[in-house]
Symmetry: C2
Subunit: 501 residues, 2 copies
């Protein structure tokens, strides 16, 4: 059951959709705002029942459902593309590899339904063979199925399993999506996951693996995040019929990393955006949201929209950059100061073949050193070429703050060589996506809550502020942090807005 | 030594100064930007060696020093007034009472020197008599001098003193202003102050008072803040010759709350701003900072300034709302998501006389219930009328999110009546200042660091990003969170910028 290296990754997404009723009271030319120059006159205006900020999966889903309900919708997206944290990273040869959210697994029903509607198929994540365990400079292998695998890589794993069982048990007491209502919410939210993990383990092996559980799941250190947040994250790894479990959160087979999308996860938002069509306005970062007289005025670069309601389909941290007028209720305004994004870079190397497979390896590794602390086989389904993907998480990517592309590449390949041998040093090409440098995401995969935040401010995550509604994977009950949570949040907010109109 | 109720409050400040060389390549009329409408053409432009964002004490001090060094300076301030978190709150009768940072004490040399230069005198905070201890619905009194006072209000105080001694001892190992360099930094930053306080006390009395120490000092709950941050805060309560101590941090006599300013603390920034004159532009919130070709372009509502360097004299959380282009280094960008402001409201009631003095009370109270958890006598120096001031901190003010002014008033007076009797129910007038609702401060008194932030991102607090420099009390070594720290940060950044030009 040591499936710490069989892990999902990069949840979430926020895309842009299209295909709806827009009543554009258009004026002169659209203005391009540069950061250096004062905003040129913004001549273009539009009106809709609902304006949606962010064309990630949550915003696109909300648009889809509101349009289906007969509402006129307009989506404003800062980037030139839909998808938000779901992104097909160009490899430089005309193909892409997932640079952001990637996997799908059991109980992720809403992203599954959406993908099916979009005609995007799935295939199993490559998971045959043994995993690599790299610790204290030593490489060992372990089996990925059966109790602890055939050869436990570290006896701390026993200690770990006891701790994970405790976590799973505690998570059962979390009202999913409303962890602040748990009976022990105050106790659990008063400590970091680090504090809990040290009080509930003795071996350095277990402690390393618990830190790695947090790093590979949330891209932060275990001292950065509240125990309550982690318990809710576990509780959220399920659906209405199947309570969340640690295994389903971290596993490949049977868990959140079980499958991938044919053609890449970005196909889902890209096709949904294409269906929605010209209700989506790209290159339109929203700068201000004014509420007055029951309606809203949303001002983006080049376009101002009047609407009855607005859906902010963004992570709390990034939503906090918008100039709200009048100011939001304090609990919401201060929540947005307290829900930081993880620090993550996704690094891939392309090889002629997935050579690790011939060595009997899954392509999944876990490491305590180097720039990359977890890997996956990101090859196409037919294995016609090999793509190794590694996560540079938390302090590992911060150490590369300001590094050149060559430095990031060298660090990534050194990790791959530690795990998979010298062949890894000679890729055909490499690529990486630093989410910590993405202005419109501010990090990834998800916003996390330090201690005290969920109990002090959690209610403000979803509570509408007058005509302002909140979406995004952070607001989801199930699979928060994942694409499924993003879709769920879009479906929830569409109902909420429709009922309010 | 139970001086938990003898406490300072609301540190900091960021003001705007004036009186410098401005080369304004002026164009047509200044544009007023409303949140509801797209920005009108911003026709006014200007140039300076240095543009300073924020006219609080840090920005004003930086402007003063850079002008003295022969640099041309322009200050952009979002509000219509200087002072930032230093503010003379109108009482409605033509007078004011400190709505923000208020006190000055020993080793606060830099605010002392500035006040002297500005001709603003000081007087002792009223501190004669006993303090009120209100816990579990019971009111008791305790002496404010002598070991534990004549009658300890709670035997937990013994437990508390042991814990405070430990804290003071640990704080001696903090390299002030760079706590991430402490030998035990990782250990101390991995836990909340709550976790530490529960591991280092047994009595509910001590635990209440340690929570109250955090609430009254930082306006957050003890689970919200890293132990390392608190230790650095203690270490910072001193100067180069006198290492910081717990006593100096929390005491009235001999501590940070020892004295007040004649005419109110706001006189310091107001007079400095008046001296600086028209280099300060008010009502000019900065929206974007672009760096290109070695210089900066800073765009505020109605004014765009070209400069060689920019000083952002704001708290990290609020600085994070600015649109930086190109994006900042990830460590700085993510720091600004991780340094939230406390939740505070300052409430005052005005009476014909300071009637509590006749009852033998200092006007200082500490409470475990009600909206107000700490009070001070805010009367003028001659005692010609009585002004009682109370802090609504953390969860107490969040419970009043969205409350009407009448509701806040009723909650405040109920607390005052608990502490000082029925006379407190009949003030001549009341006033309050909610910093959690202040768009341009986002809370108060200071930005705090949850666990993991100082060790993970602390270096980014002060490190310049190309031509972008950082000031504000959060960046100070000594008296961070206080007016003194703000002045120190302004003096430090002025040297830094001058040397770089």
């Amino acid at each position: 059951m040591t499936r710490v290296s069989r892990r999902r990754l990069l949840g979430t997404g926020a895309l842009t959709a299209a295909g709806a009723v827009v009543s554009a009271a258009a004026a002169p030319a659209a203005a391009a705002r540069t950061a250096a120059a004062p905003a040129a006159p913004t001549a273009q205006t539009a009106a809709a029942d609902v304006v949606i900020v962010g064309a990630g999966l949550s915003g696109l889903t909300a648009a889809r459902d509101l349009i289906a309900a007969g509402r006129s919708v307009l989506v404003l997206e800062a980037r030139e593309r839909p998808g938000g944290r779901v992104y097909g990273m160009p490899l430089g040869d005309g193909t892409t590899s997932e640079g952001g959210a990637e996997f799908i697994g059991p109980t992720q029903d809403r992203i599954a339904a959406l993908a099916k509607d979009m005609g995007v198929g799935t295939f199993p994540t490559y998971n045959t063979g043994k995993n690599v365990y790299y610790r204290n400079g030593q490489r060992s292998l372990y089996a990925t199925d059966g109790l602890l695998g055939a050869v436990p890589p570290d006896w701390g794993v026993v200690d770990l399993e006891v701790a994970l069982l405790k976590l799973g048990s505690m998570a059962k007491d979390i009202p999913v999506g409303q962890p602040w209502k748990a009976a022990k919410a105050e106790e659990w939210d008063a400590q970091t996951f680090y504090t809990w993990s040290r009080s509930n383990s003795l071996s350095s092996g277990a402690r390393f693996l618990m830190d790695e559980f947090i790093s590979s799941t949330l891209s932060v250190r275990s001292q950065d995040v509240s125990l309550l947040y982690v318990l809710n994250y576990i509780a959220s790894a399920g659906n209405e019929s199947n309570p969340g479990t640690v295994d389903r959160l971290i596993d490949t087979k049977g868990g959140g990393q079980e499958s991938r999308f044919a053609g890449g996860s970005q196909e889902v938002p890209v096709r949904l955006a294409a269906k929605l069509g010209d209700v989506i306005h790209y290159n339109a970062p929203v700068r201000s949201i004014a509420t007055d007289g029951g309606g809203v005025t949303v001002t983006a670069d080049g376009l101002t929209v009047s609407a009855k309601r607005v859906v902010v389909a963004m992570s709390p941290a990034i939503a906090g950059r918008i100039d709200f007028s009048p100011g939001l209720p304090a609990s919401r305004a201060q929540l947005m100061q307290r829900y930081p994004m993880g620090s993550i870079c996704k690094f891939v190397a392309v090889y002629d073949t997935p050579f690790w497979r011939a060595d009997g390896l899954t392509g999944q590794a876990v490491s305590d050193s180097g720039a990359i602390d977890a890997t996956f086989d990101n090859s196409p389904p037919d294995g016609s070429r090999g793509i190794m993907m590694g996560f540079m998480n938390q302090a590992n990517i911060r150490r590369l703050d300001g590094a050149s592309a060559d430095e990031v590449r060298a660090a990534g390949l050194a990790s791959f060589a530690n795990f998979y041998g010298d062949k890894a040093k000679s890729p055909v090409r490499t690529a990486f996506q630093r989410w910590d440098n993405e202005i419109w995401s501010g990090g990834g995969p998800v916003g996390i809550a330090p201690p005290g935040v969920l109990t002090g401010f959690g209610e403000a995550l979803r509570a509408p502020c007058g005509p302002i509604h909140w979406a995004g994977t952070e607001t989801s009950d199930y699979w928060t942090g994942y694409m499924d949570g993003a879709v769920r949040s879009g479906e929830r907010v569409a109902k909420e807005v429709h009922a309010a109109l």
